[in-house]
């Protein structure tokens, strides 16, 4: 099945995410499987206050692009097509933000052990 990245953008810093959102994240792989998809990989990011950016060799404090909704996590799913991927992405637990769905370019992410 083709793979899509689901980018999670949140206004709420990761350490302040409500407990029910965190619990929902733990249940996400099985809910995705119930709809016939698969979560291939998932990762949560530390707050953007911990980010360091490098642009043209210059190192600066902070995220690469300043936005109100900060990239908070990424996961990779397998889905039949865009409609299926969007249905799976809608399961993503969100406190105050949203997700972006992008098809991955012709290589497969494998689960790290």
């Amino acid at each position: 099945m083709p793979q899509y990245a689901v980018l999670i953008y949140e206004r709420v810093p990761p350490e302040e995410l409500p407990a029910e959102v965190m619990r929902a994240h733990e249940q996400l792989p099985s809910r995705i499987a119930e709809l016939g998809g698969r979560e291939v990989a998932g990762m949560g990011l530390a707050p953007d206050s911990t980010a360091t950016s490098i642009r043209g060799g210059v190192v600066t404090d902070g995220p690469f692009i300043e936005t109100k909704e900060v990239l908070a996590g990424v996961f990779v799913i397998e889905a039949r097509d865009l409609d299926h991927a969007l249905a799976l992405a809608k399961l993503t637990p969100i406190a105050d933000g949203g997700v972006e769905v992008r098809p991955l370019v012709g290589f497969e992410v494998t689960e790290s052990g």
């Binding site: 097509d81 865009l82 409609d83 991927a85 098809p103």
Partner: protein, 417 residues
């Protein structure tokens, strides 16, 4: 134009979507299918001149286009690996016209997929479903041809790369997806109906295409009540199309239009659709808008319009579709039932709401009501605000004249700066 050229042009208008949709099934690539179909129409010009117009031009064109596509595929197969469009398993599908299934709905739903930008949905629908050349689409939307070409290319690329299915949505997704298609068709009509800028108020090509699309969709999805509702709405608009401007090109208000020139046959057709849709279940936003437009179309005069019924329909429309534009139109109906002050109160509330800031019809409507109340110096200010927002020459002229009339009625000493 020779009779053969006319026959090919007719077949282009009537059969393009059918031929392209069937050819996509062979190529699984929109660009390759378009090329093959264009080639088939060129061959039709030559062959039909020699052998006569075939009994079923659509079937003839489809057979030729698919043969052209297959030959091209054989030549290219080893050269490139493309991202194929995602087709549903082709099993157990109703076949028409010599075994070729009618895939036009797949084409329509693919072009109007909500993951594509609204402007791209409109452009793709015109290009792929109606077969309108990119240059003409660009002209209709007042952008440069390369800009429009890039917009269409980007959308096609997203369909393939993000894997938007070439398919009719599942029944549970159908209402939402049908609504997206209807929105595209309505936008197309609205663009042609009142050009946002430029000198002509209507662009007949666009309104005609939108009407064709609505008819096509209604034929393909006869049970969808909102499709009937949209078709009815466009028919009523179309029935009034020749009376919207005077002989001098001036914009005429509904109250001033010559009702004897409205197209009675279109209004009757629309009425049948509305009655059937209303009987079949609770009305959606297009059916309600059509019912409102039809009440206007059937009234003997502006004053004798069934305003209480129109207000009731607007109440219901606002309930299912809480849009500030609907609220503004409802305010006009309120003013006709309860007087201009009641309408003005609604408009004041809308102004405070702020969502219609920059929408030219808000100050224009407010000005009309102030004018009716005899508060002409305030009306002058509102007309000036509307004028600053109007960029269509015909509308500009209309508002200028209304401003002049309000200025004349204003208290002596009131001057228009």
């Amino acid at each position: 134009m020779s009779s053969i050229e006319q026959a090919v042009a007719d077949a282009h208008r009537r059969e393009w979507a059918y031929v392209l949709a069937a050819t996509v099934r062979v190529t699984r690539d929109l660009d390759a299918a378009e090329e093959a179909v264009q080639d088939a129409y060129v061959q039709a010009l030559r062959t039909w001149a020699r052998d006569g117009v075939p009994a079923r031009p659509g079937a003839w064109l489809t057979t030729v286009a698919r043969r052209v596509a297959l030959n091209a595929l054989r030549r290219r197969q080893t050269l490139e690996a493309k991202l194929p469009l995602l087709l549903e398993p082709a099993a157990a599908e109703p076949a028409e016209d010599g075994g070729i299934p009618d895939d036009r709905l797949r084409l329509v739903f693919t072009c109007c997929h909500p993951a594509l930008a609204a402007e791209a949905q409109v452009a793709l629908t015109l290009r792929l479903v109606c077969g309108v050349p990119t240059a003409d689409i660009a002209r209709a939307f007042l952008v440069a041809e390369p800009t429009m070409a890039a917009r269409i290319t980007r959308a096609k690329k997203k369909i393939a790369t993000a894997r938007i299915r070439y398919a009719v949505p599942a029944p549970n997704e159908l209402p939402e997806r049908v609504d997206a298609v209807l929105t595209v068709i309505h936008l197309l009509y609205a663009t042609g109906h009142t050009a946002g800028s430029g000198d002509t108020l209507q662009r007949d090509e666009l309104t005609g295409r939108a009407l064709d699309l609505a008819r096509l969709l209604h034929a393909l999805l006869p049970a969808e009540r909102e499709v009937a509702g949209l078709l009815a709405l466009l028919l009523v608009h179309h029935a009034r199309r020749d009376t919207r401007t005077g002989t001098d090109g001036r914009l005429l208000r509904l109250a001033e239009q010559d009702r004897s020139r409205w197209d009675g046959a279109l209004i009757a057709e629309s009425d049948q659709l509305i009655v059937a849709a209303l009987r079949a279940g609770p009305p959606g936003r297009f059916t309600l808008q059509a019912a409102i437009a039809a009440l206007h179309a059937q009234a003997p005069s502006y004053a004798e319009t069934d305003w209480p019924q129109i207000r009731t329909l607007y109440d219901e429309l606002l309930r299912i579709w809480p849009s500030p534009v609907v609220a503004l139109n409802r305010a006009v109906a309120v003013s006709m039932v309860d007087g201009p002050q009641a309408g003005l109160d609604e408009i004041d509330a809308l102004e405070r709401d702020g969502r219609l800031a920059g929408y030219r019809y808000l100050p224009a409507t407010k000005a009309e009501l102030l004018h009716r109340l005899g508060r002409d110096s305030e009306a002058v200010v509102a007309y000036q605000a509307a004028l600053a927002l109007a960029d269509n020459a015909t509308e500009h002229e209309f508002l200028t004249e209304r401003l002049r009339s309000a200025t004349d009625s204003a208290q002596p000493g009131t001057r228009v700066p």
